[in-house]
Every structure is written in structure tokens, then in C-alpha cells.
């Protein structure tokens, strides 16, 4: 989930990697980073989701190169890797914005106005301010409904104005 994704930390390395600058070095780095999780699962195909999660945690998203590399490492067809990765909501295939704002749309949050909150936030040009706006289906702390998860931190009983004020204080 976006809530536990250390987005900003991985962006720098990620950018260099994607633009092909020092690709060999990036690959070597990738191996070093992912070797523990690959080994833990003995490079078996059943470790695929764990490996993808780990890769996304490190690099912020799953780039085409990364997916191809994972397929090679686990000796799986790329179609199988893509098929699995695209099935799950939490995997993303484009670089994340510096900040993430997830509106909880669970039942309790819905009953307490998450729809209006999401609509109000969607009307703002948050992408221009470096914020990924998304939703999360219940994080299980419903006593704080309606809530948002901002860069991994939970904020309870939020209004659109409150969230926007908080977003304005974020560093770009």
C-alpha cells in the first residue's frame, strides 16, 4: 500500500536508473539490493510477490527494466510477472510523486463523508503540487473516520480544508 511506501527516499536512485545513466551500475546495485529477498525465496517463482514488493519499496515503482530483471532472476516468462504485478492494486508502474495522499474509502469513512472529501480533493490540482491522490480500502482504524493517510501518516477526522492546509505545508 502507498501508506507504507517510502516514496521520496527512493526517487533519486530511481531516476538515474530509469534514464539509463549508468545502467550497469544500476543493475549491479539492484542485484545487491534485492539479493537478500531473492535468496530468501531461493529464486523460486512463489516468491514473486514478495520480490516485487521489496523492489517497489526500494525503487518506488516497478519499471519495465526492473520487471524484466525480476523475470530473469526467477526464471519466469515476463508475461507471468506482468500478469501478476498488474493484478494487485499496490503495484505501480510509474514513478511516484514526492508525496502521497490516500483517502480511506472504507465503510465507516464512507458513512462519515469520505466521498465528499475525495471529490473536494480531486478538484484541486494536487499533481501539480507533487502529490499523488489515491484511495485506500480501509486501514482498520475506523474510529478516526473519515481519515486520510498522508505520506504514511494517518490523520483522523479530516475535512477537505484541513487536508489542503496540511498539503500546503508539505515541502515540494
Amino acid at each position: 500500500m502507498g501508506a507504507n511506501r517510502p516514496a521520496a527516499a527512493a526517487t533519486g536512485r530511481c531516476a538515474a536508473y530509469v534514464h539509463g545513466i549508468g545502467l550497469t551500475r544500476a543493475m549491479a546495485e539492484l542485484h545487491a539490493d534485492l539479493e537478500p529477498v531473492l535468496q530468501r525465496h531461493g529464486r523460486r517463482p512463489d516468491g514473486l510477490i514478495e520480490v516485487l514488493s521489496c523492489a517497489q519499496e526500494r525503487y518506488g515503482y516497478l519499471s519495465p527494466q526492473l520487471l524484466r530483471e525480476m523475470a530473469a532472476q526467477l526464471r519466469l516468462p515476463l508475461s507471468r510477472v506482468l500478469g501478476t504485478a498488474s493484478f494487485y492494486h499496490l503495484f505501480r508502474f510509474s514513478p511516484p510523486a514526492p508525496h502521497s495522499c490516500l483517502v480511506c474509502t472504507g465503510t465507516a469513512c464512507h458513512a462519515l463523508g469520505a466521498d465528499a472529501l475525495l471529490a473536494a480533493l480531486s478538484a484541486e490540482a494536487l499533481a501539480e503540487r507533487g502529490v499523488d491522490l489515491g484511495v485506500v480500502r480501509c486501514i482498520g482504524t475506523c474510529s478516526g473516520a473519515p481519515l486520510v493517510v498522508l505520506d504514511g501518516q494517518v490523520w483522523n477526522h479530516q475535512s477537505a480544508d484541513g487536508v489542503l492546509a496540511r498539503l500546503r505545508r508539505l515541502r515540494p
Partner: protein
């Protein structure tokens, strides 16, 4: 020392944590550092809406305080909670220093029964701006905590604390007696049914897996608590992960499994962290791994983290996900008991079911009786949180007596049970006891235990559309009735909500529901129409009011 030091228990479960519990705990640690006062981060203490929660134990008595004034959140002034914690810890320091420095003795007692001056001072302490929640408050007094017995008492990160409170004692006993069949007999003699929602008798399931030949069986804990508005399993995992691990190890012994998986959803980072730690500690202490408890039981447990797919709570989809594949369900039979993870006979139970096992074995099937059920209470209710009550307690008791009913000036319209697979119980039927059979009669299900209270401002057609949209989004797309049916049902509902629907649309809606529920492959599609059908049954007026006049 025969007596315990005064102890400050701070709830550090996810809800209180989002309300500043970690800062509160650190503040308490700093202000008690030089004194014989213990500070403990514990799991859920219950009434989350009053959080962060702090329990003060002195001698044999205990006081619970709700410190919602400390909560970070709605208030945009983020320094306010910091100031509130400073004010609280200042009075705490003062109280302790005063009590400890009292000339009648520095922390020693003259008589064993009496409290030390420090203890007296602590028992008189009232945190500023706190709401005292007395032990006879219905939210606490009407609970019967078997599954949650240690939750909120122990430090979930310390296995020694859990063991001192009885964790792994039943596993040790079971291994010593070395009679797997007896464990299954005890479960079959009990009333225990799976707590994940389907309600299949647990003893039967265990017996089926035990009867399968050959080695390499697998035990799986379904911790993919996906129902929005449900957080019982999160509470158990964050508050007492060892209860789940002990239940799984007992299951491994009973059915003859050597491998196990806990499949937990990624949306629960704290539960994942605590499970990882608990598994590592249990391995170190010899309760997982090789030669468990000195016996020849071998049980290796792995944690698998989901990646956001509600359908993975369905057991065959969950199996595929553990195998690293798309979480798509398949037809049953073969049931997981015959062919599960990697084709091996597999026992799958949910978190609460495994956490019940040790308590059940300790009490014995007769004393366990109908057992207990953990519920999470949320929505339009004064006091929300997690509670465990005897099975068969009425909804009115839970929602009105314990939860305090709807907020000021409002009335309860319905209680949603069973999440997207369930339905609603109208206010007129609140006296229904919560058990599988009674709720089924009302057209809903007990489900996993998430109760969302809806007040009279709620339009039930909107709630139905919400759940239908959920089903549409989470449908895996494998079978057409679910993939296309949820889309059509949602379109019809949206049409009604836009006040463009006619009686013909309503009739079509009702005709389509049984098609989707009867023709879908797995539980997701089969139960997707249930919230809609249930609200149509009890709140037809809400739908009729939306129709355009012909």
C-alpha cells in the same frame, strides 16, 4: 519481588498510534525513568474513539483513561497535542516525585496489604483533560475476553511477557500429551465455527486435513482482513500475535503439518511488523521451527504480505497468492483440505479462529460453551472500538448499551454486518442475538465481525451502491456473472440515485441479483448482491423515494 510495580499501559495499536500514542508512551517513559514505575506499550484497550488510551495499574486495581484531547488530527494546530502531552507528563512527574519523596517511606511498604506512598499517589493521579472510563462502564463490563485475554495487558513485542501471561502453555501441554486426535476431538465437541465469515465448523475442517495421507501438509492463517470497516484481526495481530502462532502450532501438531503461512494484508504495516517480530521470537524460544517444545514437532512458519486484492481473502485465491500468482479463485472441489498450497492438503483458518484455540483447549469444550466473538464497532456510534462478547449477545446490547448508540439527536437506522458480503439489520430488529443462524434469518450474515452503525441520515441505496462499487472494483474478472453483473447492478443503482430510475429499473435490479449470486464462481460474486437485497428487504422506501414518477 512478589508485587508488581505500578504500571502505565499505553495502547500502541494502530488506532491509538494515529492519535499520538507513541508520543504519549515516550513522555511516560521519560517522566518515570528514575522511579519504580513501569511503562508498557500494549495492544488495543478497547474503546478506540476515546484514544489514545492509558491504563494505570496500581496494586490490583486499574483505571482506564481516554485522552482524546491529546489526539493529533482534526485540529490543524499540530503543536496542541505536544503541549497537552507536556502538561500530562508534568503532572505525572510531579505525582511520582511527590509520592516517592514522601517521608513515610521511599517506595517501601510497612504492611504488605497497604500501598506505598508512591502507589497511593499514582492511584490518585488523574491525567489532565482525561475521560475516566470506569471498570463498570458497559463497554468494558459486558465483555468476555477469551481471544483478547492478553491483548492490552502484554507487550506484544516481548515473548517473555506473553509467556508469563500464559502464551504457549496449551501448546506445551498438547505436545506433552502427544495425542493429536484428542485435540481434534475437543474441537469437534466444541461449538467453534470459523470466525472468518463462512462459519464452517472448525473441528470438521481440522479432521478433514488430518485424515489426508502423506507428509508436507500446510497450515495457513488468513489474515487478509479485507472487509472495509472490520478490524478485529488487526487488533489480535497487533495486541497478541503469539495467540495466533500458538493456535497455528497446535493445528500443525493436530493435522500433521510441517509448514505454515500467515497471509497478511499490506494495509496493516504495524501488524506485519509485530508478526515478524513474534515469529522470530517464537523461533528463538523454540515454539516454532524444529523440535518444538522439546518434542519432535517441526513447524516452519513464513509471513506472506498481500499486495492489495480483496478477493485474496477467498481461500482458493489466497492459495494462489501464496504461490506467487494472480489471486484468482478456482472452483471447489477440490477443497484446500485435499489440494491447497502447492497442491498439498492445507488447513486454512482466520486469525480469530487460531487465536481462540488455546483458550478453548484451556477451558475445555463444555466450559467454552457457545464461545465468544470479537466485534469491531464503527460508523455513526458514540463509542467505537473493539470488543469481545459472548456469542448470542444482542445487537442492541453491543451497539446501544456498549457503544452508546447514535450521536446526539440522531437515531440508529441500521447496523451493517458482514461487510460487502453481508447486509443490514434494521433498528427494529436490534434485539436479534448475534449468531450465524439469527442473522441469516434476517438476510445478512455474521461475517467476520465488523459492525458499522448507520444513523437516520443514511440513504440505504447509497450504502448498497457503495458496496456494489466495492464488489465491481475487487472482482477478479475471472467469471462473467461477477465481472459484468456488478457493473450492471452498480449502473442501475447509480441511475436510481440520480433520480432517473423507473419501476422497471428497480424490477431489473431485483431480477439481476439472483443471477449474479447463483452463477458466480466464488464468494465475492455470490455475495456481492447481498447488501443490496438486504437493504431492499428492510428499507424499500429508500428506493421507492428515488423513483421518477412514471
Amino acid at each position: 519481588m512478589s508485587r508488581h510495580q505500578p504500571c502505565l499501559r499505553v495502547c500502541t495499536a494502530a488506532s491509538c498510534r494515529s492519535r499520538g500514542a507513541e508520543a504519549l508512551r515516550q513522555g511516560c517513559v521519560a517522566s518515570t525513568a528514575l522511579f519504580p514505575v513501569q511503562v508498557k506499550g500494549v495492544g488495543c484497550l478497547g474503546p478506540c474513539s476515546e484514544g489514545p488510551l492509558l491504563a494505570v495499574d496500581v496494586g490490583s486495581s486499574s483505571s482506564l483513561f481516554g485522552l482524546s484531547s491529546l489526539a493529533t488530527g482534526a485540529d490543524e494546530d499540530d503543536d496542541e497535542p505536544t503541549r497537552a502531552i507536556e502538561a500530562l507528563t508534568a503532572t505525572l512527574r510531579q505525582t511520582i516525585a511527590h509520592g516517592n519523596g514522601d517521608r513515610r517511606g521511599t517506595g517501601t511498604r510497612t504492611r504488605t496489604a497497604a500501598l506505598t506512598p508512591l502507589e497511593q499517589a499514582m492511584s490518585r493521579w488523574r491525567p489532565p483533560r482525561a475521560i475516566a472510563i470506569p471498570a463498570d462502564d458497559p463497554f468494558l463490563a459486558l465483555q468476555q475476553r477469551l481471544v483478547l485475554a492478553r491483548c492490552g495487558r502484554i507487550d506484544p513485542g516481548a515473548i517473555a511477557d506473553a509467556m508469563a501471561a500464559g502464551a504457549y502453555r496449551q501448546l506445551a501441554g498438547v505436545l506433552q500429551r502427544n495425542d493429536p486426535a484428542a485435540v481434534i476431538r475437543a474441537l469437534r465437541a466444541s461449538s467453534l465455527r470459523g470466525r472468518g465469515g463462512a462459519g464452517y465448523p472448525t473441528g470438521l475442517k481440522w479432521a478433514a486435513v488430518a485424515a489426508m495421507p502423506g507428509p508436507g501438509k500446510v497450515v495457513v492463517c488468513n489474515a487478509d482482513e479485507g472487509d472495509p470497516g472490520a478490524f478485529m484481526d488487526r487488533t489480535v495481530l497487533e495486541g497478541d500475535p503469539h495467540a495466533v502462532l500458538e493456535g497455528m502450532a497446535i493445528a500443525a501438531h493436530a493435522v500433521g503439518a510441517e509448514r505454515g503461512y500467515v497471509y497478511v494484508r499490506a494495509e496493516y504495516p504495524l501488524a506485519i511488523e509485530r508478526l515478524r517480530r513474534a515469529i522470530a521470537q517464537a523461533e528463538q524460544s523454540g515454539w516454532l521451527g524444529e523440535n518444538i517444545g522439546g518434542s519432535d514437532l517441526r513447524f516452519h512458519l513464513e509471513l506472506r504480505v498481500g499486495a492489495g486484492a480483496y478477493v485474496c481473502g477467498e481461500e482458493t485465491a489466497l492459495i494462489h497468492s501464496i504461490e506467487g500468482q494472480r489471486g484468482v479463485p478456482r472452483p471447489r472441489p477440490p477443497y484446500p483440505a485435499e489440494q491447497g498450497v502447492f497442491g498439498r492438503p492445507t488447513l486454512i483458518n482466520n486469525v480469530e479462529t487460531f487465536a481462540t484455540i488455546a483458550a478453548l483447549l484451556q477451558l475445555g469444550p463444555e466450559a467454552y460453551g457457545r464461545g465468544t466473538k470479537v466485534f469491531s464497532l464503527a460508523g455513526h456510534v458514540r463509542r467505537s472500538g473493539v470488543l469481545e462478547v459472548p456469542m448470542g449477545t444482542s445487537l442492541r446490547t453491543i451497539v446501544e448499551t456498549m457503544g452508546g448508540g447514535a450521536p446526539d439527536g440522531r437515531h440508529i437506522k441500521a447496523v451493517q454486518t458482514g461487510g460487502p458480503s453481508g447486509g443490514c439489520v434494521p433498528a427494529s430488529a436490534l434485539d436479534t442475538p448475534v449468531d450465524e443462524v439469527s442473522l441469516q434469518r434476517l438476510g445478512t450474515i455474521l461475517g467476520s465481525g465488523g459492525l458499522v452503525v448507520l444513523d437516520d441520515t443514511t440513504n440505504m441505496a447509497d450504502i448498497a451502491a457503495f458496496f456494489m462499487a466495492f464488489g465491481r472494483e475487487e472482482s477478479c474478472g475471472k467469471c462473467i456473472p461477477c465481472r459484468a453483473g456488478t457493473v450492471q447492478l452498480e449502473l442501475l443503482l447509480r441511475k436510481l440515485l440520480a433520480r432517473q430510475g423507473t419501476t422497471a429499473d428497480l424490477a431489473l435490479l431485483e431480477r439481476l441479483c439472483p443471477v449474479v449470486s447463483e452463477a458466480s464462481l466464488c464468494g465475492l460474486g455470490q455475495s456481492a448482491p447481498r447488501p443490496l437485497l438486504s437493504s431492499l428487504r428492510h428499507f424499500r422506501a429508500d428506493y421507492l423515494a428515488l423513483l421518477t414518477t412514471p
